[in-house]
């Protein structure tokens, strides 16, 4: 039951790209370790504990102090490795001669419930001494885990879904049930683990299960041959797709990723509990501007997703709405097999019933999606182009006669996304990446012309293939003009097509504009820097939109 087992688990999970393999590894770990250690393992792997006991900087300084190691050297190493905990782990290997008697059989439980928490009770000097002592007594293979937990950076490619799957396999019970059990404040204890692997299912668990989601396909040309009247048109919102379930009085909010997110949106759960009927709704969760009746940026929604039990002020600052697209079950009756147009009628009927009961008071958090009624296909195009104005990504087109099946079934639902805006820009700065991209120049800044000067207008990190990243990295190293810490200014030579979703005036930027979701869509090797766009082109683009 030692920490060694967990270190091995980490290595195994980290060195596998196969989901099945990871599930198998997890299952075996759970089978061969004590419930309390399993409980801690789940707690760590699901990222429930990201408490930072000391910062990465502190860790590096401490190492430098203890072993009289130049700080600049540690920082140079950091640029290559991209993670403080790992840098120190690697550097500690050079100190193996000073290692004392090994503390080989410390358990994961002991480390997490005693050794590490006890550090906070010490004064700085004692704490430093204790960390040094642990470094020198802990077997080398456990250093990474220890340093990562200490700095709150323990992460491995395991989603809560994977834990769910492995527990589900272990005890042979549906994943949705396990998901439900993993919800909430999972406190590491023997009891919480025993509860998780209990083979008896209670009624409430059964009632929370969502239906498999039906997904939209990318638009196909053949659809334009059909009559416009065969389809239902909706805006494509950029929020979180969800099923809102109320059965036997209990509300559950399920994301498409099979995550139960009740705790992040308690106001929605509370309001929907007031409704008398039971139901399953398919819809989208958004942060909403109630005055102008449009969705707010996804970035604001992100402020809500990862925050459990949000305070009242957070709830007011980022007001949410659930927009229902579809009704899948009503008062215990599964209606997925009836036609969409008829489900829509049911949805509208129940919505007006719920809305009209004043005591429900749901209008500030719940609505059904508005339909759009284009005259013909060219009109559809016009609507699509307008979607930027109301902060949507385009249109969703649904066949009126379709039933609600599961998955990305063809010929039922389509997404018709608005084209991104694009400008050709010149690469002028590059910065080293961190984490998985450490040691490579992967963060780029791009500029547009203003008279004869190149003015930075956007930074982008994504869009290049791994091969292109390597090629560009090589070029960057050869064409650096100056280095400022991790940033290099580059010879203006490379032109890239940058796509983005939104463009607006910004006083914070020298260029005077800000773009949303900038990404590289093409390396324009065919273009010289004089062919790149100017800031004027960008302003024109902005005018065209608004």
């Amino acid at each position: 039951m030692s920490l060694k087992n967990f270190s091995e688990l980490f290595v195994d999970l980290d060195s596998s790209n196969s989901t099945n393999n990871k599930i198998e590894v997890l299952k075996n770990y759970f089978l061969s370790n004590a419930p309390i250690d399993n409980s801690w393992a789940i707690y760590l792997l699901t990222g429930k504990s990201n408490k930072r006991f000391i910062s990465g900087r502190y860790l590096k300084n401490l190492f430098s102090q203890i072993y009289e190691y130049p700080e600049w050297l540690i920082n140079t190493c950091y640029l290559k490795v991209g993670d403080s905990a790992e840098v120190i782990t690697l550097l500690l290997k050079n100190k193996s001669t000073t290692r004392k008697k090994k503390l080989s059989n410390i358990s994961l439980n002991e480390l997490l419930s005693k050794t590490i928490p006890d550090l906070s009770k010490l004064n700085e000097e004692e704490k430093n001494l204790q960390i040094k002592n642990i470094w020198e007594t802990l077997p080398e293979d456990n250093h990474l885990i220890f340093n990562k937990i200490l700095t709150g950076t323990f992460r491995v490619g395991v989603s809560i879904g994977l834990i769910t799957k492995s527990i589900s396999k272990l005890i042979n019970i549906d994943e949705e049930i396990i998901s439900h059990r993993l919800m909430g404040n999972f406190e590491p204890s023997i009891d919480s683990y025993e509860f998780l692997i209990n083979k008896k299912i209670n009624l409430q668990e059964l009632n929370s299960k969502p239906f498999p989601f039906l997904l939209a396909n990318t638009i196909e040309d053949k659809i334009f041959k059909n009559s416009i009247n065969d389809f239902q048109f909706e805006w494509k919102y950029d929020g979180i797709r969800m099923q809102l379930i109320k059965r036997s009085g209990n509300v559950s909010l399920w994301t498409r990723g099979q995550e139960l997110v009740n705790e992040s949106f308690p106001e929605l759960v509370m309001k929907m509990s007031n409704i008398k009927d039971d139901f399953v709704l398919d819809g989208e969760l958004l942060v909403w501007n109630f005055k102008e009746k449009i969705a707010l940026d996804f970035s604001l929604l992100q402020k809500r997703i990862n925050r459990k039990s949000p305070t009242r002020s957070i709830q007011i600052k980022y007001p949410i709405i659930f927009i229902a697209y579809d009704l899948l079950e009503i008062n215990g009756r599964d209606i997925r097999e009836i036609k969409l147009e008829n489900r829509r009628i049911e949805l509208e009927k129940y919505f007006s019933k719920w809305q009209n009961r004043i005591e429900n008071n749901i209008s500030d958090i719940f609505k059904i999606c508005d339909l759009i009624f284009p005259k013909d296909w060219p009109d559809v195009l016009t609507y699509k182009e307008k979607s930027r104005e109301n902060n949507t990504e385009g249109l969703i087109i649904k066949k009126k006669t379709s039933i609600y099946s599961s998955g990305r079934k063809k010929g039922i639902w389509w997404k018709y996304k608005v084209d991104p805006m694009q400008l050709d820009a010149v690469l002028i700065y590059a910065k080293g990446g961190s984490g998985r991209r450490a040691g490579l120049y992967t963060d780029y800044s791009f500029a547009l012309w203003k008279d004869k000067e190149l003015i930075k207008f956007a930074s982008a990190y994504s869009g290049l293939t791994n091969i292109e990243i390597k090629e560009l990295d090589k070029w960057i190293r050869k064409n650096t003009i100056e280095k400022f810490g991790p940033v290099r200014s580059l010879k203006p030579e490379m032109v890239f097509e940058i796509s983005f979703e939104k463009i607006q005036i910004s006083k914070r930027h020298k260029s005077g504009i800000a773009v949303r979701f900038p990404r590289i869509t093409k390396w324009r090797k065919d273009k010289k820097i004089n062919d790149a766009d100017s800031l004027e082109n960008a302003y024109e683009l902005m005018k065209k939109i608004s």
Binding site: D14, S15, P70, W72, L73, T76, V87, R436
Partner: protein
């Protein structure tokens, strides 16, 4: 300090060059006379009028590129003279036949480390400490985060990796010349007793090693364009160039790994796309480079290959060693 053009050996067109002898070291373009430190392709170029190397390097090179090159060979430690300069090869421990090259002229000693390692490797001669005034050293792994573990431990990890997944075919990617033979030698001493296959390019080098008297475990040559159904539980050695692309479709139910010093860094391991990385290198780690710098007693050190900024600064600050830079 002397002006750069007066150094016995300097950088010219991106290569090491000794003007007095009109001789190049591992040149990347055709020249009249080339000294070759070892038989890896990034140290060799076609079209030189004459090559000079150790006997083993010459044999390996001819195996790889054919007999159509003119190579003069010398034994380790044997001195030869070009334009009054005494030149000799000394074992560098990198791969079979690999060497450091020492120049002595007018009482001044220069040593080019070549690619080297200090770690134990039964498939080639151990690195020899050579005293010098000027040292030109590689520093591929010139950061203290690189600290090699015993190759025996890596071999045991590889053995465990294979035997823990008896249902899978284990593909281990490694350089065909040197690394593959070293791994074979180490793996044959572990608990793994299953079949080992090797790709044609590796198989060929295994045979060359055997001809040169190195004890290498027999492997089965893997034939191309065949469905390999019967390979579960066995180990297959492949060159890294085959890791991307359609070649892997020949196999069923595989796990992949890469044996390289770079695999000691998690970010590089993740990015490499292999399931697993085994950090084993034929280059010196940080401590190895420092040890060679000290034991060579060089008063002046140059670095090439790799990022040399950190190790240069460290030597100047901590060890008060004079680190010099070649102009480009």
């Amino acid at each position: 300090m002397r002006p750069k053009q007066e150094y016995l050996i300097r950088y010219k067109d991106g290569n090491l060059y000794c003007e007095l002898a009109d001789i190049w070291i591992d040149p990347s373009k055709p020249v009249k006379k080339a000294l070759i430190t070892h038989a890896h392709f990034d140290h060799f170029t076609f079209g030189c009028e004459e090559y000079i190397s150790t006997k083993e390097t010459a044999i390996l090179l001819k195996e790889r590129v054919g007999d159509n090159i003119k190579i003069k060979t010398f034994e380790y430690g044997e001195e030869f003279k070009i334009n009054g300069i005494n030149i000799s090869f000394h074992p560098s421990g990198h791969i079979l036949g690999s060497s450091q090259i020492r120049f002595i002229f007018a009482g001044e000693k220069w040593l080019i480390s070549g690619d080297f390692k200090l770690q134990k490797d039964d498939t080639c001669k151990q690195y020899e400490i050579v005293k010098t005034d000027y040292l030109i050293s590689e520093c591929t792994f010139g950061l203290p985060i690189f600290k090699w573990v015993e190759s025996k431990k890596i071999a045991n990890d590889i053995s465990k990796w294979i035997t823990n997944s008896p249902e899978k075919t284990s593909l281990l990617f490694c350089y065909s010349l040197g690394k593959a033979q070293r791994l074979l030698n180490e793996i044959s001493q572990t608990n793994f007793k299953g079949n080992i296959y090797s790709h044609g390019s590796i198989h060929k080098m295994n045979n060359s090693y055997k001809k040169l008297g190195i004890d290498i475990k027999d492997t089965i040559k893997i034939e191309n364009k065949k469905k390999f159904d019967e390979l579960k539980g066995s180990l297959i050695l492949l060159p890294p160039s085959l890791s991307k692309g359609s070649y892997l479709k020949n196999f069923k139910n595989i796990q992949t790994a890469f044996a390289s010093g770079w695999m000691s860094i998690r970010a590089l391991r993740k990015r490499s796309g292999y399931d697993k990385g085994f950090p084993i290198s034929d280059h010196a780690d940080w401590d190895g480079i420092l040890e060679v710098v000290k034991k060579s007693e060089a008063k002046n050190v140059f670095f090439h290959h790799g990022d040399s900024e950190a190790i240069s600064k460290y030597l100047v600050e901590k060890e008060s060693i004079n680190v010099l830079f070649f102009g480009k």
